[in-house]
Amino acid sequence: MKKKTSKEFINNAVTYLLVIAAFLIVNTMKEAGMLTRSLTGQLIPICAYIVMAISLNLVVGISGELSLGHAGFMSVGAFTGAVVTASMAAAIPDPTVRMIMAMIIGGIAAGIMGVIVGVPVLRLQGDYLAIVTLAFGEIIRNVINCLYVSMDEGRLFISFNDPSLPGKLLINGPQGALGISKISTFVMGFALIIFTLIVVLNLMNSRNGRAMMALRDNRIAAESVGIGVTKYKLMAFVTASVLAGMAGVLYAMNYSTITAGKFKFDTSILVLVFVVLGGIGNIRGSIIAAAILTILPELLRSFNDYRMLVYAIVLILVMLATNNEHLKQWGSAFKRRLFSRHKAMKGGAEE
């Protein structure tokens, strides 16, 4: 038992170190002006996608439910964040504080949506969550397309399908949120990833996390020992929604405009692809997959018209490679050899 805990500890430490090291290297290179604009411009979206992938992994990998509307929560966070930062611009001039406020409020808003969707659905068995979250993502997109929010003399006005509101429009229906002040920074993105890792990894290794995994592996057995299904599934789902909302705020504050059309079904699936390719239940894998698959289409720009074709081929190759028995055997043999050498050295030292 003790050995297992220490193994988990090492595993988590590697994840943290990986993220911190990557951040330090990239940030130093960025400060030194060694990165191209193309890469610098993608740093914040990469951070947002990493948080999305980790949080979705909590739902898909740890609690074992399929969610197809994760971008919907991102959208709720993004638009809440846009309104919060715009309306607080006068009250809180400091962008960092404003951003943190926006993330908290955006996260809460997405979390409330998570509760609304999760409470009825997680009581059901089967793939209902997938169907409902799919619908949820589409509903959110269409609602925001009709939503008009304006601000006039410190008051907010909200209407549906009627743009004739007093003051300056913050959210203008299908044109989305306009005139966002770009306050996201790479450091904030990094801080959000670390926050997400702390939340998710601690939750996974807690009593609650083990209950979630027990439910995932065998629902009947877990219920028979008194684990409440809805409570734990809801815990995972709402946590993931809150984190997705925060990722949405980070993402939105990096562009001067954001539209509901961005958070379509395609984006949900894209995040699911990160999770699947990185390995379901594997947090480190999600991080790496999200980063690489976000950069990849940009690296492939030189292929011009064949870019998306090459991207698809790369996805298939990765999928084949990660599921290849030979490679897997080779990997585990390599691990065993390393481990045995480590053991031998340790044994040698003891003698």
Binding site: L35, T36, R37, S38, L39, T40, G41, Q42, P45, N142, N145, C146, N161, P163, N172, G173, P174, Q175, G176, L178, G179, K182, Y255, S256, T257, I258, T259, A260, G261, K262, P297, E298, L299, R301, S302, N304, D305, R307, M308, H326, L327, W330, F334
Partner: protein, 376 residues
């Protein structure tokens, strides 16, 4: 196996390192970057615009004198990808931007270009949000408000109908933008809007909207939408034997060349467009001929706008005495000073710009007769 993996990772590292190093700057040509959707749902607009620009670049390079190096980047009609494409062009050392083609990406990119002081001339991003509060972003196309108001005035002045219906896409920035100003102007016009119905990007069946318009007795239906949904509406109206006039805006342009669409259905459709490919002036004829030779299709208004964008940039460069040796920022400031003062005669009309970036040119109303545009 192990060797193979080492080799693969080595190759990947090299590939990554190569892409991270900025491309070497070629001397002696003005670098014009183009951003537009070359793949995805809006690709038809981006590809048309790119082809139009390419013809202009070829013509200018054939003249001798200032040479242009043209680099087109795909944005998939997505704000995030568009900013990526823009950053990619910045790494390349872009001096002037011809883009973006579609509105939402353009709003995101123009904010970046404003901060970096890169001059942008968009051929077809028509929302006012594109140019708002940015002194270095200009448009070749009409703004959405101008199109909506002009359409309402045209219908009113020519007494095309007394009862008008509107079908628009309330999930689309372009469509709602035109709809809103159309409705504002319609209040001053001698016709009545009897019905307004909406649809979204996912709609594939328009029988509800069309039959509602029929029941309301609309004699003319205003369609401030793109041609793909418009083609379905025309088909549905045909099957319901509903004979009314359809009136479109520039998004309707391209319907005749759409694959799988029977041009007979579009007979009698009217649209407001700055460009008609059957115009007889020398410039248009020469452009249309070249375009057909090269790409085997009739150019749309997107191609024409983009062709004009390159020429307008070229003319402004010459007027201001700038050359490819000047920095991007110098060129930007010179363009900002030159554009409001110059008059450019292009194939989409004679253009003058206001300092806020809007263009003034006359819209032409055309009617589709026997499968071709006929000027009204």
């Amino acid at each position: 196996m192990k060797k193979m993996k080492v080799l693969v990772s080595f190759v990947l590292v090299i590939a990554m390192a190569l892409t991270m190093v900025s491309a070497a700057v070629a001397e002696g040509a003005l670098k014009i970057g183009f951003i537009g959707p070359l793949t995805g749902a809006a690709a038809v607009y981006g590809i048309s615009a790119k082809q139009g620009s390419e013809i202009a670049v070829e013509e200018i390079n054939a003249l001798g004198g200032m040479q242009i190096e043209f680099n087109a980047q795909d944005d998939e009609h997505d704000a995030e990808k568009s900013v990526n494409a823009y950053n990619n062009l910045m790494d390349w050392g872009v001096q002037l931007i011809d883009g973006c083609v579609t509105t939402t990406p353009c709003v995101a990119v123009s904010a970046e270009a404003f901060n970096d002081r890169v001059f942008m001339l968009t051929p077809s991003a028509s929302s006012t949000a594109v140019i708002a509060d940015k002194d270095n972003v200009y448009q070749v196309c009409f703004t959405d408000p101008a199109q909506g108001a002009a359409s309402a005035q045209y219908i009113g002045e020519h007494a095309l109908a007394t009862k008008v219906g509107v079908i628009y896409n309330n999930a689309d920035a372009y469509s709602t933008g035109i709809y809103q100003t159309f409705m504002t102007e319609a209040a001053n016009q001698p016709f009545e809007v009897v019905i307004e119905t909406t649809f979204t990007d996912d709609t594939t069946d328009f029988s509800v909207q069309v039959s509602a318009a029929k029941d309301a007795g609309a004699e003319l239906i205003f369609l401030p939408i793109y041609y793909t949904p418009a083609s379905m509406i025309l088909k549905q109206a045909e099957s319901m034997e509903y004979n009314c006039t359809f009136f479109g805006v520039d998004g309707m342009d391209g319907i005749l060349t759409m694959e799988g669409f029977d041009p007979a259905l579009a007979e009698g459709v009217m649209l407001l467009t700055p460009f008609s490919a059957d115009a007889t002036d020398d410039k248009t004829v020469s452009f249309v001929t070249k375009y057909q030779e090269k790409y085997g299709e009739v150019p749309t208004q997107f191609a024409a706008d983009s062709y004009d964008a390159v020429y307008a940039l070229y003319q402004a460069m010459q007027t201001s005495g700038m050359t490819e040796a000047n920095t991007t920022e110098e060129i930007c400031e010179a363009m900002v000073a030159t554009f409001p003062t110059m008059t450019y005669e292009g194939i989409t009309g004679t253009m003058q710009w206001a300092a806020d970036g809007t263009v003034s040119k006359t819209p032409k109303a055309v009617k589709i007769v026997d499968g071709v545009y006929v000027g009204q």
